[in-house]
Amino acid sequence: MMSDTQTVGSIPTPQRGLSVRGIINSAGIGLALLLLIVFFSFASEHFLTPNNITNILTQITINLILAVGMTFVILIGGIDLSVGSVMAFAAVVAGKAITLPGLGPAELILLATTAGVLAGLACGMLNGFLSAYWSLPSFIITLGMLNIARGAALQVSDAQTIYSFPRAFENFGSLLISGVPVVFLVALVLVLLAWFVLTRTVFGRIIYGIGSNEEAVRLAGHNVFAYKVAAFSICGLTAGIAAIIYMARLNISSPIAGIGFELNAIAAVIIGGTSLSGGRGSVIGTLLGAFIIGVLANGLILIGLSDFMRQMITGVVIVVAVILDHYRAKLAGNG
């Protein structure tokens, strides 16, 4: 009996990690990006030039790094509004460290990098701990952190911009390898790392699981609290890394850096097809989302639109992305 039903084993299953639906989603975003690039190439002769490409890559680096961490947080169904401020705080801490007297440049760079990254990590951990331990909405907790970290950055720096860093550090920020900024390569490595973690590891599996059905994950014996803290910690960590990159690029460390950066990072994640309610999305999408924002910003200015128009258009893209996500969610729901 039941011989007419499909059972087990014999059916070849498509490759895992990147699901078919995931590929289609990413392909759609990639196509949108491609169309943008084609459009701007025709609209402006300055767009597809080596110089401008280097420009775009440099411009999207910080946002991309922040967005990689943000992807983890949004995948578990959270949000981190504090990354801009945390980045400033980490930059100020690293700035203080890198201008300490009596140390050699190599030691200073190592010390400052460690201090900045740890400062970001600590803020993220605190975000995660506070929201996960008391099951509070991360929106509120990180809104608090947005203010706390900004205040701390101003306090620590005495509201002064810090500058005059070691020459090697400054050079790193503007170093190119055949036209590609090294800082962008750092961001790209982070993307690949995050992609690997999210698709190939138990950790990533549980991150997705928590965003889809936290209770089911908990009842399967996993420590949801620890994974939530970890997701926010990763977001803080990437804010710390972004701070270092930011300092190396601009050769300053300012307590008022990164204002509003959290919104661009969230936008990159959402445009990239990650669901705001968690559980669905990919960091490859985030990469494409960051590119779309960067290409739009650059291209719209090149074709002579005002910065105000650019803002409006970016806003429209975000809204469209969320509407698309709504339909994807429906599709997924119908299975």
Binding site: T7, T13, P14, R16, S212, L219
Partner: protein, 527 residues
Amino acid sequence: MHADTLTASKPSASEPAQAQALLTVDDVHRAFGGVKALDGAHFTLLRGESHALVGENGAGKSTLIKILSGALARDTGTITLEGAPYTPANPHDAKALGVQVVHQEFNLLNDLSVAENISIESLPRRFGLLDKGEMERRARQALDAIGLTELAVTTPVGRLGIAHKQLIEIARALQSDSKVLILDEPTATLTERETSRLFEIINDIKAKGVTIVFVSHHLDEVFAICDRVTIFRNGRTVTTENIADSNPSQVVQHMVGRSFGERSRDRETVEAEDPVVLRVDRVRTSVCPHEEGVSLAVKRGEIVGIAGLVGAGRTEFLRALFGADPLVSGEISLHGEPLALGGPADAIVAGIGFVTEDRKEEGLILSMDLSANTSMASLDAVSSAGLLNFDAERKMAGDGGARLDLKYSALSDPASSLSGGNQQKVVLAKWLARNPQLLLLDEPTRGVDVGAKAEIYTILESLANQGVSMLVVSSELPELMTLADRILVMADHAIQGELARKDFSQAKILALAYGQAAPDTPASESA
């Protein structure tokens, strides 16, 4: 149950079969993506008969009805109506050809009158204005035709009860020249009295030469008013039988593909010397109002049922045993070793699995694929150093699926693509992957159709035969009486009594559940 009141119409089922074929469905197929909803449907509708379509959820009945009503196109196969090919492009076509469907969900406009609703598809006009008199005259006629003489046609539909709304749907359907009237689960929301009224009307309609197709889950109704029955399973027609020559258990057997209700335990009782696996001593949950808590013991390979009313504390008790909610006091021991539960992880490591009441909220990650859902509680077994081994995971899911006869098209499909019964099998596969010694099951067959239910019982029984102990909470007494070796009845967060298999009866269980019998163990003093 009320068949005796309805037997007046019991047919003789002796019409010569081929002579009066009105509608013939031959080898109809229809797939949605990879899922074959209809995989060879055959049946013949005789003029003037009432013909039941039965089958489990997902057996293909509703797809066939949609095809007949023009809402869906078929992929292959032929349908003939009165000898001519029947291929309605849309429901309007189908109606024009004389095939009408009354759906489970009504398409009535609540604020309009009965007359307006009946005529809505072709409102009579005079000089371009609505001809109200004609509309009401037609509606009156339509209502009289089905015996609803007492109902005023000016009544707003919103004021009518469900039974009357259903009848108005029928009246509307019959207004045009119907040859075939398809009733899709017409009695689902009706009371017994309304049902017998509906049946009288169906018999009247039939007497007027309309052929009735009757879709129902209630076999007693099928046997009360139908002449013949066609049974569907997995998108195929199993057989068509004359009601007069059949009986309900034979039909169920066709529906599920096996005989149902028998127990497949290889021993009837758990032996006295079987070792105790779980011992629970005065366990209190945070909602338990008294000091005694719950105490019980489960032996190896024993299925212990827990009956009780909603709110008796059964789910809370299971959750506490699994460490899902904190224990206020009391002790749990597994194989004689005390078990300290800091969370579900401790219970899982100790060999306990928990099939929760609500698989969508607590059991499955619907958007994730079958492999990921199966391995969710055994990720250590399919990974090394934190890296997932997808081959091992697929094997785990494939083996689990084979063991439970899971029906799916690919392991990479999301869990949401499966039917309720198969989803529940995935939940079971998740725990079986860990070879648990104790399974806690909370309403294990809720929202699962009758065939999958039978399969799940077989699975659980064979697990018990292999030595897995089980605590089963269920609100369906027949389920507990089929599965359990022993039933404990809970009320007010305490065990009110215990019934051995030979003493099982719904009356005894309910009496205990409603606290009508004194607890058979004297309650210890409480604060």
